[in-house]
């Protein structure tokens, strides 16, 4: 029988704890495939966040460190400075990166830290049960915005790619989605490009991946993809926001 | 000299007050004494005043601090206002008369005046005012002989330009000379 798909070497193969229809599994695999293709698994150190992907250290088959909530970019900064020939990635959710870790991500990008951040945006706090995040859309109902997010109460959703691409230290800023095979392929290309730019030492790199949370959105996996296309992508446009040198 | 003495240096930032304290600390250390120099720091230095307290002792230094030093070297008027009452009875108050427009009110301390800025200006630069005063003070209290002090100054100033070292030594000697004549 012909082998047409196999587990990337950069994944351990441990069974995921994620909910049905959650995008984390796909995104983990894309990161791992990019590491495999670049042959950097043994030079890579990953930092996982507090949030649904807190257990990512069990899934990635490379040296891993679990960070305090929001602090992954600070931790990655120190490791990269001390071990400049290694590849560093942080894997962060929207609460972790855009709320409690806003300071760390902005300053890591301002300093042009040569790290890669995989930013998974599913518009809410998944692990704690669906509370509002900085990325929650206007009108979106969460457990802490039960009347729907209102501008006068909660302000506007955070557009992180747009914000970070202003920083001189940012070398690659891209937003993708994992709603379709074509976009999944684009996401992998973006992640690979981010690692390559990190390897060239050009500066800070980040790929924001729009993802689903069927459990907390209260939708089926299929309807979740539709909701992402109808609501998220129009507010969070896909594409490369910054490529240093281009 | 008594077993332990504490000398307060106080003045504007920029008058070399801290350097003066550090020089004295250096010189005393080279003579084999135990020394410490406590610096005022942070917002305490707001308003541009600076001070440091030098302790010189034959023994291990217990408290490097005091609010009542035996000797105070006062480089400006605000420092006189702040510290005059703090000096221990029978202590010594050394006053930069170029920068202080009133006389001390205490009659239980020895007052030694010196037009420090005037003497420094005669040397062509007010930057060495602190060295003029230090020379006078070292001569007056007899911590070490002056040749020895000049040797140690070479160590303290190691790495600085020859001309700067020479100027500072010259200023130090002007102070020594002043003390011999005026503070007998």
């Amino acid at each position: 029988m012909k082998m047409i798909a196999k587990k990337p070497e950069s994944l351990t193969g441990a069974k995921y704890h994620y909910c049905p229809g959650c995008s984390h599994g796909i995104i983990h695999r894309l990161v791992a495939e990019a590491m495999d293709e670049l042959n950097i698994r043994e030079q890579t150190i990953g930092i996982c966040p507090v949030g649904c992907s807190v257990l990512a250290y069990d899934y990635f088959n490379c040296d891993m460190l679990e960070a305090a909530h929001g602090r992954a970019p600070a931790i990655a900064t120190a490791i990269k400075r001390l071990l400049p020939d290694r590849y560093l990635f942080t894997y962060q959710g929207d609460g972790d990166l855009a709320s409690i870790g806003m300071g760390e991500i902005v300053h890591a990008s301002l300093r042009g830290e040569k790290i890669t951040t995989i930013f998974v945006n599913n518009t809410l706090y998944g692990m704690t049960g669906g509370q509002m995040a900085p990325t929650t859309l206007l009108g979106q109902v969460t457990t802490t915005s039960p009347y729907g997010r209102k501008v006068e109460w909660e302000g506007y959703p955070a557009k992180m790619c747009e914000l970070l691409s202003c920083n001189e230290g940012a070398a690659y800023i891209c937003r993708t989605a994992v709603n379709s095979p074509a976009n999944i392929i684009k996401t992998k290309k973006a992640i690979k490009k981010a690692f390559q730019i990190q390897g060239q030492g050009l500066g800070f790199t980040l790929v924001e991946v729009l993802s689903t949370c069927p459990t907390n959105w209260g939708l089926s996996p299929a309807d979740s993809l539709k909701w992402m296309e109808e609501h998220m992508i129009p507010y969070y446009p896909l594409g490369e926001f910054k490529v240093k040198g281009e | 000299m008594s077993k332990e003495q504490q000398v307060l240096f106080a003045g504007f930032g920029g008058q070399g007050v801290i350097s003066m304290g550090q020089f004295l600390t250096h010189l005393a250390m080279h003579t084999g004494k135990e020394v410490s120099c406590a610096l005022s720091y942070g917002a305490e230095m707001r308003g541009g005043t600076a001070n440091c307290l030098v302790t010189i002792s034959d023994e291990e230094i217990s408290s490097p601090l005091t609010e009542n030093p035996m000797t105070a070297i006062i480089m400006n008027r605000p420092s006189l206002d702040r510290f005059e009452d703090k000096i221990k009875p029978n202590g010594t108050l050394v006053l930069n008369s170029s920068m202080v427009d009133r006389l001390p009110q205490r009659d239980d301390v020895e007052v030694l005046q010196m037009p420090v800025n005037l003497l420094a200006d005669q040397l062509g630069t007010s930057r060495v005012a602190n060295m003029v005063l230090l020379g006078a003070f070292v001569e007056k209290q007899g911590l070490m002989n002056i040749d020895q002090a000049l040797e140690y100054l070479d160590v303290v100033f190691k790495g600085k330009q020859e001309a700067i070292i020479a100027k500072n030594k010259e200023a130090f000697l002007v102070g020594v000379d002043y003390a011999r004549k005026e503070w007998k």
Binding site: Q43, C62, E66, A68, A78, H107 | I61
Partner: protein
């Protein structure tokens, strides 16, 4: 070897470099900033890393990352900054990552003032952050010890895989004294657990999450045993004229030096006085204090704090055996003569004169 004059804060920085520290991550705060400034000058010249972090939180998390690589790394701050770092210190303790955290204390609570204080005693010696843990706390009392205990701190951190805190008063950080500069440390322990990229080995994981109940229990049991080992091996203290003393002063850091003179003063006035100086504030020298409580008649805790913090450890150590008195104030360091006056009052009350 020639002694050189160094400011306490600079002695810490130079001592750290000589102990092999190659990563400094900090945020400016009076009265500790000279440590960061020294490191900013020196680190680039010796192949080390200096990063001025965007916040105290980022700084301690940089220490977390740096320590995870196996490098000797440190940060320095003062009370308000240490409060902010406590989350990270808790993670460092659970991650068993060796590092040095310097607290050059100032008065609080709140923004407080920048004058000397020992009021960080609780947040230093009680773990400080969330969860079941302790960190080793060293209290120097001279510029020389700022260097020596910094170097010891790195050694103990590696030996026990724990964060170590060096805690000193702002006065000491800004005190210039002669320092005998120590030789460079050249031998270091292996750190096979370090996160360096898994070339030629299985991946390493640094993690502080233990969701299964049994896993967390095992983990905390391990830490508890480690703290017991530290208690049995690392307690350090100094005794001065305690043998025949009726009245025992207990003081640490710069207050211990001042108290020593008060001991001599009180003895010249006929009060048999002695001093215990804890050098490790955690683990606290409970045994020494307890032993001396069996022979003395009263004890006095002297601290730069108004509420009194270390006094609680003296009470724990003496278990009611002798009366405990307190001398303390904030933002200034009492002088030996003032302490002597207060000792006379205490001695009279206790019938010692």
């Amino acid at each position: 070897m020639q002694r050189v004059l160094m400011k306490g804060n600079e002695a810490i920085a130079e001592g750290a470099i000589r102990a092999g520290c190659r990563g400094f991550f900090g945020y400016p705060i009076t009265p500790s900033s000279e440590i960061a400034e020294y490191m900013a000058r020196k680190m680039p010249t010796i192949g080390g890393v200096f990063v001025q972090a965007e916040s105290e939180l980022a700084a301690i998390n940089m220490v977390y990352g740096g320590a995870a690589t196996g490098a000797r790394v440190m940060t320095a701050s003062s009370g308000p900054g240490i409060s902010l770092k406590q989350e990270g210190i808790s993670f460092l303790a659970e991650g068993e990552l060796p590092c040095l955290i310097v607290d050059i204390c100032r008065g609080g609570p709140g923004l407080g003032g920048i004058q000397p204080s020992q009021a960080d005693y609780f947040q230093a010696t009680r773990g400080g952050g969330h969860g079941d843990y302790y960190i080793i706390v060293l209290a120097p009392s001279s510029a020389q010890e700022m260097m020596d205990l910094t170097m010891l701190g790195f050694e103990l951190a590696d030996k026990h895989r724990t964060p170590v805190m060096l805690m000193a008063e702002g006065t000491l950080g800004n005190l210039i004294e002669p320092v005998l500069v120590r030789d460079e440390v050249t031998e270091f322990v292996d750190k096979p657990w370090a996160i360096t990229g898994c070339l030629g080995r299985q991946p390493n994981i640094v993690n502080t999450l233990h969701m299964p109940v049994e896993q967390l229990q095992t983990r905390n049991q391990h830490l508890t045993e480690k703290y017991q080992a530290i208690r049995s091996q690392e307690i350090r203290s100094e005794e001065f004229l305690t043998e025949d003393a009726d009245l025992i002063l207990v003081a640490y850091g710069i207050m211990a030096r001042i108290a020593k003179k008060a001991v001599m003063n009180a003895r010249s006035l006929g009060i048999k006085t002695g001093l215990i100086r804890p050098i490790t504030l955690w683990p606290y020298p409970y045994g020494v204090v307890n032993k001396i409580a069996q022979t003395c008649k009263a004890m006095v805790s002297i601290e730069i704090s108004t509420t009194g913090q270390m006094i609680e450890d003296i009470k724990l150590a003496t278990a009611g055996k002798v009366p405990i008195h307190y001398i303390g104030e904030i933002a200034r360091t009492p002088n030996p003569e003032e302490i002597t006056q207060q000792l006379l009052v205490i001695a009279a009350k206790e019938g010692l004169i």
